[in-house]
């Protein structure tokens, strides 16, 4: 009886529970984007991921969508899970201290029999208060185009998100970017999509995830995509270098609280790309670096670069099976482990780029792509949004609240 009590207590305190264990999982991943920046309904992502029903087991599904909040294009958009009202009160106090709240509302959902006991889910559109801005002396607005100021603000957001997720019991920030949002939960991805009415949103880049954890505990915060700033990562695999990667990022101040592979991959990307400014075009040489025997055969200048990367970033190598799809503001990036132990298929049709665990979902949403290929291990697939469509730019300037999309809670 005592034991049962303690287990129940443990489960209640979900964040603490999840920080103790690492949960390996096999999964389905799917991503689609329009490089011309044209926005399309989340229906496409739902249709795609639903084909891979067999790859998930109903213990987690989710979507990351970019370009869905053009009316708040320059503002921080937070999606937050609350277990109870006390968590909400505490979190909103913290938010109010640092941010000007432009809008806060419950994220609209539909009741579905297959989605059980969701948390309270809110979204906030926020502007950093002048006096809490790290660089307020030489900055007229929270974002004046100064790179150092932008980075300082982003660091502040990262710290804020980590603080809430670690210190406030029952509150969990699942997405913290701009003009993007993550929708996820416990259930099959197609049900999660229906629950969040994903098809009513329009974005230019979508990624999605169906989860097959080898562990029976379902926690909404533990579903994927995992997000930080405007990074979102969906991942299929179980990495065997987790301990090394975790220790590496911890040396740079990233604390892995969720103990999931996806979390540590996100931190690696944030560290390497955002903080250390390594071009995204070179990231695969770190995360899935070529083998030494390949490096030895390269021409001298290339060999020197590859050698320098492996020497410096050996601990950032992701070892073991993985395929990931990364969303970030204006690009989508997919990568396989270097000996291709997990599936990844890519296809293009006009301005559209698709990446997926399997070919069928691509065929379902695009019957005859111009080109369909299976990227090699360690060979990245990348799509970049050339420009956001003009009418959207206008709406970003106007910053008018589109009531059709965002209903006040």
């Amino acid at each position: 009886m005592n034991r049962l009590d303690s287990i129940n207590k443990l489960k209640k305190n979900t964040q603490e529970y999840f920080s103790r264990f690492r949960i390996p999982s096999g999964c389905a991943i799917f991503g689609v984007m329009n490089e011309a920046g044209e926005r399309f309904s989340g229906r496409t992502a739902m249709d795609g991921i639903s084909v891979m029903h067999e790859r998930s087991n109903g213990l987690g599904g989710g979507f990351a969508a970019y370009g869905i909040y053009p009316q708040f294009g320059d503002d921080w958009a937070f999606h937050i899970f609350y277990d109870d009202m006390e968590a909400k009160r505490q979190t909103e106090d913290e938010i109010a201290r640092s941010f000007k709240i432009l809008l806060s509302e419950e994220i609209p959902t539909v009741k579905i029999s297959r989605i059980a006991s969701p948390p309270t889910i809110y979204r906030y559109f926020l502007k950093l208060k002048r006096n809490s801005h790290p660089d307020r002396k030489n900055s007229s607005s929270s974002n004046n185009g100064n790179n150092a100021a932008i980075e300082a603000e982003e660091n502040l957001i990262v710290d804020f998100v980590m603080h809430i997720n670690r210190d406030i019991r029952g509150a969990y920030i699942i997405s913290s970017g701009k003009n993007m949002g993550i929708f996820k939960g416990v259930g099959f991805p197609e049900d999660i999509g229906r629950f969040f009415k994903i098809d009513e949103y329009k974005g230019y880049l979508w990624t999605s995830h169906g989860r097959f954890p080898t562990n029976s505990v379902g926690w909404w915060g533990g579903a994927h995509p995992f997000g930080l700033l405007d990074w979102s990562v969906v991942h299929n695999g179980e990495i065997s270098s987790y301990g090394t990667n975790k220790r590496f990022v911890s040396g740079f101040g990233y604390e892995c609280t969720l103990s999931t592979d996806t979390e540590v991959i996100t931190y690696l990307l944030d560290l390497i790309v955002r903080k250390q400014k390594i071009d995204i075009g070179m990231v695969h040489l770190i995360l899935a670096s070529p083998l030494w025997e390949e490096i030895e055969r390269m021409p001298v200048d290339k060999r020197e670069i590859l050698k320098a990367l492996r020497i410096s970033y050996g601990s950032a190598l992701i070892n073991g099976p993985f395929s990931i799809i990364v969303g970030k503001g204006n690009f989508m990036y997919a990568l396989n482990d270097r000996i291709k132990l997990r599936p990844l298929v890519a296809a293009r049709k006009g301005e559209y780029l698709f990446v997926s665990s399997e070919e069928a979902p691509i065929r379902k949403v695009c019957a005859s792509p111009d080109r369909l290929w299976h990227p090699d291990g360690g060979e990245p697939v990348m799509g970049v949004v050339k420009e956001v469509k003009k009418e959207e730019k206008k709406s970003i300037k106007e910053k008018k609240i589109d009531k059709k999309l965002v209903k006040l809670g």
């Binding site: 264990f21 690492r22 949960i23 390996p24 999982s25 096999g26 080898t214 695999g237 179980e238 990495i239 065997s240 270098s241 987790y242 301990g243 090394t244 975790k246 220790r247 590496f248 911890s250 040396g251 740079f252 101040g253 103990s259 250390q276 400014k277 390594i278 071009d279 075009g281 070179m282 670096s289 083998l291 030494w292 025997e293 200048d301 290339k302 020197e304 670069i305 050698k307 320098a308 990367l309 492996r310 020497i311 410096s312 970033y313 050996g314 601990s315 190598l317 992701i318 070892n319 073991g320 099976p321 270097r338 000996i339 132990l341």
Partner: protein
Amino acid sequence: MALELGQSEFEIERDKNKCISCEVCVRQCSNDVHEYDSDQDTIYSDNIKCVGCHRCESLCPTGALKIKNREAQFQTNYNWTPSHLKNIYKQADSGGVLLTGMGCDKPYTVYWDHILFNASQVTNPSIDPLREPMEIKTFIGRKPDSLEFEINKGSKDTGVKLKTKIPTQLELSTPIMFSAMSYGSISFNTCRSLAAAASEFGTYYNTGEGGLHKDLYQYAKNTIVQVASGRYGVDVDYLNKGSAIEIKIGQGAKPGIGGHLPGEKVTKDISNTRMIPEGTDAISPAPHHDIYSIEDLAQLIYALKEATNWSKPVGVKVSAVHNIAPIASGIVRAGADFVTIDGLRGGTGAAPQTIRDNVGIPIELAIASVDERLREEGIRHKSSIIAAGSIRSSADVIKAIALGADAVYIGTAALIAMGCHLCQKCYTGKCNWGIATQDPYLTKRLNPEIGTRRLLNLLRGWSLEIKEMLGGAGINAVESLKGNREHLRGIGLNDRELAILGIKHAGEAW
């Protein structure tokens, strides 16, 4: 007086039916245990002189000899053990410091034997090293904080140029090196075997504090030269000969004290190499007399870098002592490119027994706490960590790296590969296996070509085993093992020990 005899530690059993009085044992024993009596055509053996090196037993052509451990015949007493009694008899007789050789043999917990490694099942495929690449190449040296590139997107070429300068690295084909053993403490043939094997396998050996013999210059590319408190054999040529320089502050077998090479061992060749007069004792001071603090160490590190044009990594070797974590952190901040940590059970050619057996901490705990501290301080990448002090198998190597080391040094294991039987009498200079001696009659027993081959076999065997274990855990590059304590579990350890090692207990899942 009679006490002087004490009691013999070994009993020599000679099967009279098998012995043909060929006198091999007589000639092989440098301790004069065996004596041939021509009148009776019989060989007599004196148990009391036997050190238990098993040379005669190994070479007896008819298998007539058995060297057995002899139970001490003192009255049973759990407090006054036979070793205490014997030591007191010896000291009451001589008034001296009791010497010994090799590493601590006391039954302290060997943590390697309480740690288990992981393997993949189902959720993550194991990787077959016979069919897939398995990478164990390792780099020792300072790593940059981050890399900067210049990218020309317009040009047709790759157009990427590296702007950051990478500090010089030692490139190891396997994360195993031969640790510091000086010419003097070991024979020239032994040094040569180590040097040749390191060179052929693509790893490094360390000269120890005895300088570098000219005949070993050909292996310079695979040599780490040591600078110890005695500065034997140190000049600018010596410094420039090695691929890296190691400042020796301490050694696991004798933390806090310097080395001692008796004058009898200082032959002409050794006197030349060490740059000291023939036949004089070579006693290195306990501290470096120009290093009385961490800032002095920094000065020596930079002086050595200047002397070698900033072309080589400069590291520091310390023994694992109670405050090893902050000490290592200080060493890294003082500019060391690698830190060698030598644990309690590290070997030696000669050390006071009481220091060997009672001073320092086990390497497993030291590595875990140093790696943790350097990570916390965000300076782990600035230095490589080399673990030393009783690495006995490939499994120990794997566990050391998973706890946070970059590579390991092996000393005792390398000597065992060349024939050492761990009799712990290195300090007598009478090594029957021709390893820890300068007596030409004995040193010729080790053929350097055979020594080299045996060392190569050892490196190869361990490397293959490391690859098998890595593959089993679903890892195909050794850098993904470094500090990967998720792959370790403790067995039979208490909470405190687990916390220091930073590992879970066996049975605890992710």
